[in-house]
Symmetry: C2
Subunit: 110 residues, 2 copies
Amino acid sequence: MGLAKSELFTSNQNQIALFAKVFGHPARVAILQHLFKINSCVCGDLVNEIGLAQPTISQHLRELKSLKLIKGTIEGTSVCYCIDHDEWIVMKGIIKNFLNMDTNSNSNCC
Amino acid sequence: MGLAKSELFTSNQNQIALFAKVFGHPARVAILQHLFKINSCVCGDLVNEIGLAQPTISQHLRELKSLKLIKGTIEGTSVCYCIDHDEWIVMKGIIKNFLNMDTNSNSNCC
DNA sequence: TTTATTAATCGTAATATTGCAATAGACAAA
DNA sequence: TTTGTCTATTGCAATATTACGATTAATAAA
């Protein structure tokens, strides 16, 4: 089928999965790391930075944008991308809450 | 192509993506949450807990097992699954390190 | 041994993802 | 206007993912 049965799960579970999915490709991880590293906008050189073709980078940027993790503003001919810090904080809260499940558990079997 | 060009990225970027990918489906999120919630092994009732068919659950369990996030031990006819706490800690460190990128940055544009 | 139970595997259909060439669209510069 | 630059979109091929029916394998119970 290739299609997740999202109606079976809570909105929290679906939200975690959506954020995780966008981090599930190394190119998108690399794009985000680069944006944080230069600590400002990047206008165009992501294609040189990462080794993928321009349409491929554009596609990955669109997925990051659809989750509002980055925002792009047009700057002449080029487009300036940067992290959306507010949404990053929101996402971080949701994912960290998921990752911290183990703090309340002490393995008493296996 | 459907195949990520992992050779373009660092092993850290690929590792983040691999862990994130396994969290990128709500069924696997739900399985992990259930295992943490009952705070012990679960023998069989995951199929009833989640609303997916038995082969589908088995497939998701195999993916979690392949990343060593869970381990399964045979217990008579059934199999007993539980969290691998050591590997969970390792994964948590890698993902949190990625999520905490924003602590060193102060958005000076956009 | 026969039967039941449980979970993994196989096979397959439907859909999603990844990647890129070709193209289009928008703007700047000449 | 024409030309060049940059990015998005389209279209497509290759591969991956999701889901499940059917089957198999292993053990337990009768």
